[in-house]
């Protein structure tokens, strides 16, 4: 990529980042522009992805090579679009039927094995080798097993939660709370990482190489808000008079 395009890219990137962050101060037309541009560019991006990565190599090229087999999945795929035309929307059922059958066939055995059987095994298997484990590992395995049982009790709604069942399910709530706390803490950290990423880029675009893009756009935004605030006050005082 040429240097000129790099600089233009830097200005666009810095500008759009600052425009979107400006919403934290208050809503403004620059934010709206960036928001609409994001939606439009996103649509355009996906259109070219589907055209050049799927439609071209997976449908058009094989058809040109007289590989007529691709017509079957293509027709099934096109049948999904008939949803938009009420008179022929029944055709979409064939596409959906195929998707449902194919998806279920792949997902159910894999899900059962990975998320169900293996997890049950993982909870129970440590108890078969307690004699080889350290005290901490035994405690850890017990904690996991107790946690699984208590949380399962919490989500078991076929019996009324009272007496000992209530006590066990209450312990389950504490296990869930620990998980939610860990998940929330990690979420905060992840959001900070993303913010750091944008700031790091803004810092890169503030260099001489990019003709101080970040500083200039930031100053322009500040000037806009200042001017907008001043004009707004003037208008208010005129209306009051």
């Amino acid at each position: 990529m040429s240097e000129t395009w790099m600089i233009i890219g830097g200005w666009v990137s810095a500008g759009l980042t600052i425009f979107l962050f400006s919403f934290l101060y208050k809503d403004n037309p620059f934010f709206k522009v960036a928001e609409h541009l994001y939606l439009g560019a996103g649509m355009g991006w996906w259109f070219q992805v589907y055209t050049y990565n799927i439609l071209g190599p997976k449908v058009w090229t094989p058809l040109m090579a007289h590989d007529w087999m691709v017509l079957i999945p293509s027709i099934l795929g096109i049948s999904l679009v008939t949803q938009f035309f009420p008179k022929i929307s029944w055709m979409s059922r064939y596409g959906f039927t195929f998707l449902m059958g194919y998806g279920s066939g792949l997902a159910i055995p894999a899900g059962l094995s990975t998320d169900f059987l293996n997890q049950i095994g993982g909870t129970i298997s440590p108890f078969a080798s307690l004699h080889t484990m350290s005290a901490f590992s035994i405690f850890n395995s017990l904690l996991v097993a107790v946690g699984v049982v208590c949380v399962l009790f919490y989500f078991f709604f076929s019996i009324e939660h009272k007496g000992s069942v209530k006590k066990i399910s209450n312990v389950g709530i504490y296990f869930l709370m620990v998980y939610f706390g860990a998940a929330f803490g990690n979420t905060v950290m992840a959001r900070f990482s993303l913010l750091y990423g944008r700031f790091d880029d803004l810092y890169s675009f503030s260099s001489q190489r990019y003709f101080y893009a970040s500083q200039i756009i930031l100053a322009a935004m500040a000037a806009y808000f200042l001017l907008h605030g001043l004009l707004g006050k003037k208008k208010d005082s005129e209306e009051a008079a």
Partner: protein, 274 residues
Amino acid sequence: MLKEKLQKFFKIDRRWIFLLLAIILFIPIIKPIGLPNKTISKDAQHAYDFMDKLPANSFVLFSLDYDPSTRPELHPQAIAVIRHAFSKNLRVGVVTYIAGATGLIGQIFEKIPQEYKKENGRDYVIFPYMANSVAVLTQMSSDLYGIYDKDQDGKDARTLPVMQGIKTYKDMALVVNITGTSMLDVWVAYVGDKYKVPVIGGVTAISQPGYGPYLQTGQLKGMLGGMKGAAEYESLIKTPGKGTSGIDALNLANLLVLVLILTSNIILLIIRYL
């Protein structure tokens, strides 16, 4: 009197907090503080150890499934793990099922291979983006070339030196999936468990706690979580990068949140019981 003054704290315009956070995050970018990152998590250590013990010339398949929205967390992870693979003279294959990842993969392989004198086609190969990951992963179990007959430059994949002896998952020593989506679940369920291929994951900090069960059962051999995971791996390979420099900012920002939570709770207690 004191109560009224303290209650004003809860009416602070939140934009001041945004500004404070922005300043806190910006300071380490302008001037790195160098806060230590001394803790290496067990999962990151396991990931490193597994990769480190692979014999030279083993084939490692990288599935880099993240786009610019999760780049700050996952790009440093990918760079660190790929550096490690190259330093151990492992053969590297790269696939992606996220269209937005192609540019980021290009960024990595523009620079990193040169540092280790690695050549495209001989030491590593980049395959083009493919849609419908589940179908692709299933097909690859019987014949990889049924899906990837050409690399991203259009070269015949079968004839590339890096692909010699590689046809299905059983020829691969390891799969590394770095993703901001649920692709890691797909790799574990459809490849790791089914074909007994070791899988290592790199995920965003948000997703990290959800993968605990897979680590406990050994379905995942190791894992990197968020920017911290990247920093840990950079420490392990002794090559500081964006993950390490980001830790300063993360530590300060987390400290700010902690201070704000503690301050507001203390004020709340004073208001209630004073």
